[in-house]
Assembly symmetry: C2
Homo-oligomer: 171 residues x 2
């Protein structure tokens, strides 16, 4: 798919068909995340890929907004080292945002929908995912084929008007 | 350009030709940012686009790592409301990361290079950009045509190995 179409097609997908994701497609999504830029190229991430239904259901209980994880074809958990100060905390969040966008756009390119979730209960996440104590599971990205309509460029996305967001030269 | 090529072609570009960016290309980059997802669709951003050389030079003085802003064809300043608590601070950073990735990939699709900078001196940024007191300039994204070689898919990006980053099922 053309990049501009993928950018305009990505939407928040939280309901998925039963169709599993091909291993090669999952690997491409993860490779997009791996290639994402980060501050001084520190790459502060580990990605844990979950496709087991019981694990997905358990993960969905980490946050009230994570119900769609339970029914996803696969979910990628974004895990980072617990930040030592505010500056690194900001960078971790910003860089995880970049990696998330790379993965979601790589998915959209393949017709695969995606939906974020924050993570509340770290104890559940750690039990399900098995990451070391000095790490924290920051986000879950759920993937799957949309069960309503295929991804296609959105004509009128639900966003603030361009001229409210963009300032030329000065605010 | 195909999405997968854009994802693999984006690299950190900090040296640019004198060629200006077409207004339509800049608008597409900004539109990609506007369409980016954000927590509960709060869209916590304003984008100020700077192409005036003196403004770019002044902006480059906000941070020791922002020298490339001075020689960019255009720089987009990402501005957000000063966060009221840690949770919103995390979300702001994460969502600015997503918007940055959307803009950089839209640029790569057009053969336009990009390079991030953090912002240290808010007083300079505010003087140059004119944003209200309750806002903060979080990042600068510099854009321009690469002056060394055109963007093309990177075969071996400088990243941790795939199997170090990715865990299947459990860490």
């Amino acid at each position: 798919m053309e990049t501009w179409d993928a950018i305009r097609s990505r939407r928040n997908v939280r309901s998925y068909t039963d169709h599993p994701l091909a291993r090669a497609d999952l690997e491409r999504i993860l490779e997009a995340g791996r290639r994402s830029p980060s501050s001084t190229n520190w790459q502060p991430w580990h990605f844990v890929v979950v496709t087991d239904r019981q694990q997905l259901i358990d993960l969905s209980e980490t946050w009230r907004g994570a119900g769609h994880v339970a029914v996803s074809a696969a979910t990628v958990a974004l895990i980072g080292e617990r930040p030592s100060d505010e500056r690194r905390r900001d960078s971790l969040q910003y860089d995880l945002g970049q990696a998330s966008a790379f993965m979601m756009l790589a998915a959209a390119d393949l017709g695969i929908g995606s939906g974020h979730a924050a993570v509340g209960d770290q104890a559940i996440a750690q039990r399900v995912l098995g990451f070391p104590d000095e790490y924290v599971c920051c986000y879950l990205l759920a993937f799957g084929y949309p069960d309503d309509r295929p991804l296609a460029p959105l004509r009128s996305p639900d966003r603030r008007p361009f001229d409210d967001v963009v300032h030329w030269g000065r605010w």
